[in-house]
Subunit: 327 residues, 2 copies
């Protein structure tokens, strides 16, 4: 296993395990009673070809056993598990993951049986959003939208300080239409925000537009598209501008409906800093008149936001522990 | 005063007064202990040229006195007041009304002093939404969006059965952008839903497009535009289709973010029935893939929804009275 990572400000509390099952890798960590991420490991996520999620559960159980063996003095009292796709928090069910391959798996109860501790279960973006809300810059606000922009785009909604998931269907602003009849989206729709403004889309659209047969373009990511735009590549500039325009437009629509006091932008694309935030904020504000203008904040918890959110939720399952935020 | 109107199913409870201050008229009613609208009156709304709202408050006090004189045996225990514009429910303040002319008026406390009873105060569309939610077809759902489409467009958001107002800024989907850079909106923006899909916009856009100098067009409303569209007028068909497309698109965006279980459409335009609901639902669904599809319901409380919502809120201020819905 890897060396301990830099401690996140989780604070003192029960020791818990946290698992972030991603489309490619699974990240697992042991949070000790001081709130440090004592031991963090990343392993490839096994496909669940039979649709049951058993391969994922078996891997998590094995990881938990390794943590217990490696840290026999740590008293693990609960675990947090987060997954992508469509997730029913209320009932603890992974409803659907096309990428990893499961359908209607009662992950919460199955993992609790395997590990012998209570399990907190939610969607990866909602967990990351909860971590940002609890530990990042938006904690002073009641009504907050946390948006994670990476391969895809999804949001976590907090209303009066409480997460709102609508049985897993809320916050799917990546699949809010920006360009009716536009470019195809992985969801089956057309012109969704995710198909225009995600890091994945920026990379894909640039490669599709290049057409000059340069094999180096096959590996180009959103970061390189931005670098090329900044170096004067008009094609890259157009794709970057269309992406930030689309993000700003959808955020303005979220403001009209929900009027969040703060919007936090995280995920890989937020690493672009002002090159993302400035045009997005300008575009968003261009659509706002009497509306309540939200503060636009960068995510601060960083790449461990998912497991940190899972750990926060897990800690809340241990009796007599107050969580800094409802999960 | 007018004859008693048809009783609405408010049910038994304390007798209350309800006032719906509109941009043109003010509607006032006395709800008796059986829940009947015992006496309903409509008078022109006075302009508040000095920005204080005093003219409006004086008129309401006079109306209250008339009700008390006309119905001396009715024991009025509270009042409900609803107004348009920007309204801070939490603090009882009419923040801004451009049409009637006030700014930061503490209506709730001022009216309570004048009438000597507790006053419930909210936004007209949120009150109408609450009435629809309490007494209409969406009462079985937790997460509901009520949209009122008339001269303008606004929505009332219910999250887990509780209204969400964001200090008056939530639900403003009339000012969600549909066509960036498009037609001017009264709010100062461009391409807002209200500038394309409201009854006011349909009428205005048709008159602007007519250009044939027919003076009869000056009075044409959305109803006539629909009639002409159904009779084969291509210009009317185009405007009606663009309106229903815009409404369906914004509803789909609301679904992506909030995933309401039901969306209720009310207001004058909803009188169009299937000519509105069918194309709006088709358009909305065209943007939905994995999303939770909401039930689309017509408003049923009707033209009195505002005062009924105000009365429901007023009744809740009387001790030991349970309201069928949180207000």
């Amino acid at each position: 296993m890897s060396a301990p990572t830099t401690p996140v400000q989780l604070g003192a509390g029960p020791a818990v395990l946290a698992f972030d099952v991603g489309g490619t890798d699974t990240k697992a960590t042991l949070v000790d009673a001081t709130g440090a991420l004592l031991d963090t490991v990343r392993v490839p996520t096994p496909l669940s070809l039979d649709g049951t999620g058993d391969a994922v559960l078996a891997q998590i159980e094995a990881l938990a056993n390794r943590f217990r063996t490696a840290h026999p003095t740590v008293d693990i009292q609960a675990a947090g598990l987060i997954v992508p796709g469509l997730v029913d928090d209320e009932n603890g069910i992974g409803v659907f993951s096309e990428n990893i391959g499961w359908e209607n798996v009662p992950f919460r109860d199955l993992l609790s049986e395997r590990l012998g501790v209570p399990v907190f279960f939610t969607h990866d973006v909602r967990a990351a959003g909860a971590a940002e809300y609890a530990l990042g810059g938006a904690g002073q606000y009641s009504d907050v939208l946390v948006v994670v922009i990476g391969t895809g785009i999804a949001g976590a909604v907090f209303i009066n300080g409480v997460p709102y998931s609508a049985h897993g269907y809320a916050g799917e602003i990546g699949h809010s239409v920006v360009d009716p009849g536009g470019v195809e989206c992985a969801c089956g729709g057309r012109g969704c925000l995710e198909a225009i403004g995600s890091a994945g889309a920026i990379s894909r659209l640039y490669r599709a537009a290049s057409g000059d047969g340069d094999p180096a373009d096959n590996a180009i990511g959103a970061r390189e598209v931005l670098e090329r735009a900044q170096a004067g590549d008009f094609r890259a500039q157009k794709i970057w501008t269309e992406a930030t325009d689309a993000i700003g437009q959808v955020l303005a629509q979220c403001v009209a409906l929900l009027a969040p006091e703060a919007i936090v932008l995280g995920g890989g694309l937020a690493q672009a800093g002002p090159a993302l935030f400035d045009p997005v904020e300008k575009r968003m504000n261009s659509f706002l008149t009497f509306h309540r203008r939200p503060v636009l904040l960068p995510a601060t918890v960083g790449e461990n936001a998912g497991v940190v959110g899972a750990a926060l939720g897990a800690r809340r399952l241990v009796p007599n522990v107050a969580s800094p935020v409802a999960l």
